[in-house]
């Protein structure tokens, strides 16, 4: 086959399965490319390398591009234009991912493989990999774009290394691609560790409180990794192989005790990353204190690697049905209910912790932990709609959180603070950022018409049909808490009184606005037309052997009550139209007054009077539930650390003996006695 950029473009477009209307666009691209291909340099060098690129295994090509990104960032990361280059490269990675066509097509195995000491590592992409890789690269793409311009300039001025940031991001992306493509336990662990450490790098870049948080993260992450390694060892001891095929067989042959052990080991490892209770304490600070754009990436996808592990092993290999048969001894709970309850508590506790936060970044980061609970809850319900909701929430939440964090960091970029008590009234100064944040919080709270509503609806729906009332209530209570806290977020930043020092604040720079607005549009679109995202999820479900969700373009068809977002959004818009008609159509024209022209009980307001309700926002609620914040988990963490300290003290004491020979004598006696 003769290869030229034109045919490549054709193939790419064919791979995209675009509607016919895009033909014209393709034609323009094709024509402009024809000029390039006619040049001499192209026929000499470009042609060959292109053919090589086309001939490659698509997964290899993806890996190669990702590694190339890493390499280029390592070499050129210091340049001013590195940001743009990174955006292009992530875009190329996205194209490479699409060209694998593993979502609708058959899984593709990579030709890259490593063999060490009889153990082989290899990779393969299937629908699940595609789904997570798509989110990853997408997150990296928008993050890179967000960071490319003004943000990076500021970052450099603060004395930070642009190269380190780019490298950390590229490494995160690369590691994640390796992780989601893993085809055996070793490559899984390799990817896992790579992402863990890359995340650590990203968190620790700035130092200060971020470094402390990163260290805490590290303690959790490495413990989780060791649990994971223990689980891998257990599987290996039974199956004698690291291959997934053998793993599945091994798990099938395991006794209940073994499965329990495996569940605790693997589940513990994944739970740490996902931030499930009681391993959630590291996440908020670590994600919030990372450098802005890095925080966006981390918040969007990094914690999901824990979910990926749970999907592959606990949902895919052990299976929800097996979980249901695993009873907790001496109780009537099954392991599935246990996990579901952990998920539910993970929704509630961090969400209400978020309610207490005074820092926008922390608030969002705490919500990130809570939203992970929805995903797991949906997967644990295990029916078609529930698992689809869990999976879909991964995507919806990723775009939501990315948009939210971007908006918050845009505010930080302009005002220099994320303290909710130091902001206010910015809507007049940064209206577009406000819009992005508004879209984001509606989606995060799971209200129509945004993306978050769809996935949460699916989770609720499955909880009802599967008859899990308490979990349902827990999930809704979590949502209500989310509504409360996101309102606090948007109110304290954008609404209320504009502070004197923020009078001159400008709208976020364009380089940051474009990805933000793009994501907002995506949030709305994914809520308006959830069909495409549902089609991906359905493919993933099919591949995992789960029941496949009955989806249509607007949502879900089900005789027992479906969801059609196109209609819902339509009537909501119509409702708004009616509202606007009622409001604007009748009566006198409203007159804009100055913000300070307010009811103040007769007091005269000036700009320097602080006339804003922000601190202790939900005073009444806190008065009631405040005593419930006992910090039991912090206490647990502290007592664990104290135990470690005590054990270490004891161990060190052994090396502080006054007479070292005493230990020798004891050892000799013990050994000789043991010998007999």
């Amino acid at each position: 086959m003769a290869t030229s950029p034109t045919t490549v473009v054709d193939q790419l477009l064919a791979g995209l399965h675009l509607p016919d209307g895009f033909d014209a666009v393709a034609g323009v691209i094709r024509e402009s490319l024809a000029h390039v291909t006619n040049s001499a340099i192209w026929t000499r060098y470009g042609q060959q390398s292109l053919e090589w690129l086309i001939g490659m295994n698509p997964v290899d090509r993806l890996f190669m591009l990702s590694a190339l990104t890493l390499l280029l960032m390592l070499l050129l990361g210091r340049l001013r234009s590195a940001g743009v280059l990174a955006v292009l490269l992530y875009g190329a990675q996205f194209a490479a991912l699409l060209s694998t066509d593993t979502l609708f097509g058959a899984p593709v195995a990579a030709e890259v493989r490593i063999t060490v000491a009889d153990q082989s590592l290899h990779w393969s992409y299937d629908a699940l990999s595609w789904f997570f890789a798509m989110i990853t690269i997408g997150a990296a793409f928008v993050t890179a774009w967000y960071a490319a311009g003004s943000w990076m300039r500021r970052y450099r001025e603060a004395g930070q290394s642009a190269r380190a940031f780019h490298v950390a991001l590229a490494l995160n992306c690369f590691g994640m691609l390796l992780l989601v493509g893993s085809a055996d336990l070793l490559s899984l662990f390799l990817g896992w560790e790579l992402v863990s450490w890359a995340s650590f790098l990203l968190m620790a870049l700035v130092g200060g409180p971020g470094a402390q948080a990163a260290l805490k993260y590290l303690a959790y992450a490495i413990s989780g990794a060791m649990l994971l390694l223990g689980g891998i060892a257990l599987i290996y001891s039974i199956g004698g192989s690291f291959e997934y095929g053998a793993v599945v067989a091994a798990i099938r042959g395991m006794t209940d005790v073994q499965v329990w052990t495996l569940l605790l080991l693997l589940g513990g490892g994944f739970a740490v990353k996902l931030g499930l209770l009681p391993f959630h304490l590291w996440q908020a600070a670590a994600y919030a204190e990372a450098p802005g754009a890095g925080s966006v990436f981390l918040g969007a996808i990094s914690a999901r690697m824990g979910l990926f592990g749970i999907i592959v092993f606990i949902v895919g290999m052990i299976g929800v049905s097996r979980l249901m048969t695993l009873e907790i001894p001496y109780t009537f709970m099954s392991s599935r209910e246990l996990i579901a309850w952990i998920a539910a508590l993970t929704i509630i506790v961090p969400t209400y912790t978020a309610l207490q936060q005074h820092d926008a970044r922390y608030l969002l980061a705490w919500h990130g932990i809570g939203q992970g609970g929805y995903m797991l809850l949906g997967l644990m319900v295990g029916d078609a709609v529930g698992s689809a909701g869990g999976l879909l929430h991964c995507f919806n939440y990723a775009i939501t959180q990315a948009a939210l964090l971007m908006a918050v960091f845009a505010v930080v970029h302009r005002t220099g603070t994320a303290d909710l008590n130091q902001l206010g009234g910015l809507v007049t100064r940064m209206p577009l950022t406000f819009l992005v944040l508004l879209f984001g919080i509606i989606s995060l709270a799971g209200l129509p018409p945004m993306a978050g509503f769809v996935s949460k609806w699916m989770v609720y729906r499955s909880l009802i049909t599967e008859g899990m009332p308490l979990l349902f209530v827990a999930a809704v209570v979590g949502t209500l808490g989310t509504i409360l806290s996101v309102y606090k977020l948007i109110h304290n930043i954008f609404l209320g009184q504009l502070r004197v020092e923020h009078q001159g604040v400008a709208e976020a720079p364009l380089s940051m606005l474009i990805p933000m607005l793009g994501l907002s549009a995506l949030i709305f679109l994914a809520g308006f037309i959830p069909g495409p995202a549902l089609s991906w999820v359905a493919q993933v479900q099919g591949q995992l052997g789960l029941p496949v969700v009955p989806w249509v373009l607007g949502g879900i068809v089900d005789p027992r009550g479906g969801l059609d977002m196109i209609w819902l959004v339509g009537i909501l818009m119509a409702g708004f139209g009616v509202g606007a008609l009622v409001f604007y159509g009748f009566g006198g024209r409203s007159r804009r007054v100055h913000q300070l022209d307010n009811y103040a009980g007769g007091h005269f307001l000036t700009a320097d009077v602080h006339y804003q309700y922000s601190d202790n926002f939900y005073a009444g609620l806190m008065h009631l539930i405040g005593p419930w914040y006992r910090g039991a988990f912090r206490w647990l963490e502290r007592s664990l650390a104290a135990t470690l300290d005590l054990v270490s003290f004891g161990a060190e004491g052994l090396y502080r003996v006054a007479q070292p020979t005493l230990l020798m004598l004891a050892a000799a006696v013990a050994m000789l006695a043991w010998v007999f």
């Binding site: 995209l16 909501l572 609620l621």
Partner: protein, 315 residues
């Protein structure tokens, strides 16, 4: 596989919509709701007046109030969001009522269902909150904080009720529920089948409609520290409109869930008025709770009753 077929756009064409009827329904339903809502407001004020041994307002007073507010000369706006908040408040309820099936008009009840309806009713809260927030009056914000806390309170028994009902009928679809209830007369009504849930639902309705003893956040006596502090003119008028829809939505929802919906308009409206009259009557004999006491109350009794109800429903 082609994305077009993957997205099932082709399926769209196969659906047989009664376009004209639907559009008519969509236009009629909010209108009826508004009129019924006006009636409900009137009833509310009449009941209050009778209990306080007054005569009460004339028939068209609620409408005149709205018209008066809209017609006011001083319309103070604090910005676009302030206005959009009102639009969202009305719009959310308009959308909600189109999701409620009424006799002869199922509207879009097929497309949404119970949960969607519940979440639609949260949009006005959000809109109102945004609008008030834009006013930059801390008193308004305090009111919103109370209102949202109240929402947290009454939604817990509310979702328990919703779960129980949906589980009982095995569907989220409101049309199915009505059909199931009407199948066997009063004996199959939700209220008869699930008396505990109906009771809990009544509690929740009381909170949802913002009536005493759960009305501190909108109480006239607390106007200076409530959401309404910066609302005047057609802003307040818009909220009056919203209130009409709100009362109707609450009543109609309860009727749909527990009282077998409406066989025809007469019985339906009758049920709605009766149902709505209950909280109003109760309201007049109670003082009001502080917000945290309200939360405490809602998370105790109605929640327990609701859970008990679910326990009965699920066995």
């Amino acid at each position: 596989m082609d994305w077009l077929s993957a997205m099932r756009l082709d399926a769209l064409a196969a659906v047989d919509f009664h376009w004209l009827g639907l559009v008519l329904e969509l236009m009629l339903m909010p209108l009826i709701a508004f009129v019924a809502g006006l009636g409900l407001v009137l009833m509310l004020r009449k009941i209050a007046a009778r209990l306080q041994r007054r005569v009460g307002p004339p028939l068209l007073q609620p409408l005149w109030d709205i018209i008066k507010l809209h017609a006011k000369e001083t319309q103070t706006s604090h910005g676009l969001i302030h206005e959009i908040g009102i639009v969202m408040a009305i719009g959310g309820y308009v959308a909600a009522v189109t999701l409620l099936p009424v006799p002869g008009m199922n509207g879009l009840a097929q497309q949404g269902g119970l949960i969607a309806l519940l979440y639609m009713t949260m949009i006005p809260s959000l809109g109102l909150a945004l609008g008030v927030g834009q006013c930059a009056n801390p008193n308004g914000s305090i009111g919103i904080s109370r209102a949202l806390t109240a929402m947290l309170a009454y939604d817990v028994p509310m979702v328990i009720v919703i779960f129980g009902v949906a589980f009982h009928f095995g569907s989220l679809n409101l049309v199915h529920m009505i059909a199931a209830q009407q199948a066997g007369g009063v004996a199959t009504w939700g209220m008869v089948q699930m008396p505990l849930l109906a009771l809990a639902g009544l509690f929740a309705l009381q909170g949802m409609l913002g009536k005493q003893p759960f009305e501190i956040y909108v109480a006239p006596a607390e106007i200076a520290t409530g959401p309404m502090v910066e609302m005047g003119g057609k802003f307040l008028g818009g909220l009056f409109v919203m209130q009409c829809f709100q009362l109707y939505t609450g009543g109609a929802l309860y009727v749909t869930l527990f009282l077998g919906g409406g066989e025809h308009w007469l019985t339906f409206l009758f049920k709605v008025f009766v149902v709505t009259a209950i909280p109003m009557t109760i309201a007049m004999v109670f003082p009001r709770y502080r917000t945290e006491d309200m939360v405490r109350l809602f998370w105790k009794w109605p929640t327990m009753i609701g859970l008990l109800g679910i326990a009965f429903v699920m066995n």
